[in-house]
């Protein structure tokens, strides 16, 4: 029937065409030749940082500052190397076009920090070491930092996984079954908003080990937002999806697992992100007060020795650690919610 043919001519993008369009939209249009201000930005800024560093470091012991010099030299070398590679490699060029400005800004910020701290000494010294001091701490104490990160990762993942698993079950039950909603919702509304960290005293008394209580607290912190958002997502499933599914012969299990849960997925992910934020907070607090390992513990331990370089080193690791986990969750969301691509952005 020719009606079909006619309608297929409508410029409706297929998914493949669509992703292509999107990537072009996000990345600035690709030029064949990178402007000098782009590829020179990082080497130039690094050179400036090096000069500032030489000026700021002249009144500091060389051992403390040497590694930062090496770091800047490496960055300088790599940036020149990549600027060379991009001449022959378009993907690298595209990547550089996107990343160079932000990396240059980051290095500038490092210099600014160094100028204010070790250079001009505007900030009280032991509390605000410059980037060379922090880098030095990172390197000298790397074994303990690595061990702490490992412990934090283990604690975070066990608590988060436990919390999410329980929350998905309770959330689906509260969202779907009226009796579960009647009895569960008040509990959720009353107990849920208590910050998980407020349970610390109780957790320390009740649980057999600090480790155990920390996992429980993180799970509790995650449980509330994930349950809340899952329940609201499930109960807000568009009624007509359920009606259609029923007339397709759907069983109750199909309605829950194949209609309500997928429909609630965007909401569930909001809960997962909120829960992740809450779990970071709870992790650090739990490590500070009970568990004698992990990054949270490391920060207060280093502070106890007045080694502020190490405090900042731990903060740098935390930033990298938490944002990596956040990125992983974003990737998972992009995979699961691929059907929303182009519909909702957050």
């Amino acid at each position: 029937m020719n009606t079909t043919v006619q309608e297929l001519k409508e410029p409706v993008p297929t998914p493949a065409a669509n992703t292509k369009m999107r990537s072009v939209n996000i990345v600035v249009p690709v030029t064949t030749r990178l402007p000098a201000k782009i590829w020179l930005a990082v080497p130039l800024v690094t050179a400036i940082a090096f000069v500032i560093h030489l000026w700021a470091a002249k009144n500091q012991p060389a051992v403390e500052t040497n590694s930062y010099s090496v770091f800047l030299e490496i960055v300088f070398g790599i940036s020149l190397l990549i600027a060379g590679v991009q001449l022959f490699c378009p993907p690298v060029r595209r990547w550089m076009q996107h990343m160079c400005p932000i990396m240059a800004a980051a290095i500038l910020l490092l210099s600014l920090w160094e100028a204010i701290t070790s250079g001009l000494r505007w900030l009280p010294m032991p509390y605000f070491p410059g980037p060379p001091g922090v880098l030095q701490s990172l390197i000298t104490d790397r074994a303990r930092l690595f061990d702490s990160t490992w412990h934090s990762l283990f604690l975070l993942l066990s608590g988060y996984a436990l919390g999410v698993a329980v929350a998905l079950v309770t959330g689906v039950c509260i969202g779907w079954f009226a009796p579960a909603r009647y009895w569960g919702m008040p509990l959720l509304k009353v107990v849920g908003p208590i910050p998980a960290t407020a349970w610390v005293p109780l957790a320390m008394v009740v649980s057999p080990s600090a480790m155990f209580s920390a996992v429980g607290l993180i799970a509790l912190a995650v449980w509330f937002p994930v349950t809340m958002l899952t329940a609201s997502g499930i109960s807000n499933t568009k009624a007509s999806y359920l009606d259609v599914a029923r007339t397709l012969g759907a069983s109750p299990a199909y309605l829950i697992f194949r209609v309500a849960i997928p429909a609630a997925m965007p909401n569930i992910f909001i809960g997962l992100f909120m829960g992740l934020g809450a779990s970071f907070l709870t992790l650090v607090v739990a490590e500070t007060v009970g568990v004698n390992s992990g990054l949270g513990w490391y920060v207060s331990w280093a502070q106890g020795w007045a080694e502020y370089g190490k405090v900042y080193a731990a903060l740098v690791i935390m930033a990298a650690f938490f944002s990596t986990i956040m990125t992983v969750l974003f990737k998972v969301r992009d995979r699961v919610l691929v059907w929303q691509k182009g519909v909702i952005k957050w």
Binding site: T3, V12, P262
Partner: protein
Amino acid sequence: MTEGASLRIASVNKDFAKANDVEARTIALHDVSLSIAAGELVSLIGPSGCGKSTLLRLTAGLDTPNSGELWIGPEMITGPNAERGLVFQDPNLFPWLTVRRNIESGLVARGKLQEKRHEVDEFMRLVGLETFENAYPHHLSGGMAQRVALARALINHPKVLLLDEPLGALDAFTRMRMQDEVLRLWQARGTTMLLVTHDIDEAIYMSDRIVIMTPRPGRIERTIPITLERPRQRNSPEFLQLRGEILEMLHFAGEARSAEV
């Protein structure tokens, strides 16, 4: 080929609690009776609030009447099942599934996917969507989405297909093309169809019979058999005359209602 079954609606009454007052009831359907033969295509038209959609939901088994019975062939309707497919004005495709998986969902729901996978291809060809099998619903135009919805409803080989203003949201041209497509599917499969529409032309163009309903309380005003030969000409004198008559009836229905109030 006739897959359809007869549909018998016997003295059905349905009322709802009013939104703002639990004690008061709105009578949605008052003593509605209607018999539809197997393979017949019947349209329900009437002003909003006349209970067309309620009648469709009762037939689908998504609601239960306060009194009266609905029968599909020899079986009484007690709840929704795959024998009665439903297509809404909004295609209501599952946005998290690709076109192919949407069409498959009826088979998955009944656990028949393994056995009947080959039919999915057949239905995608039937509605002309082979090249879009991996697209997600938000990439589709309104007409395409509604075709997917039709294919999804038809894959279970329903005995009765219930259409609740399925083409109401489409532009005039797409709508006329889709009317032909629905007719083609109807003639090919012999499915009994009950079509709710606001569009008098659509009702005359498509139906074997038009049922005119009036509101407050919702009841059947009269039934008009359409005997024009198919394929019908939208601008033939007979068509236009019928159109005039029905418009007059609906206008009359409107007057009667304002007189009542």
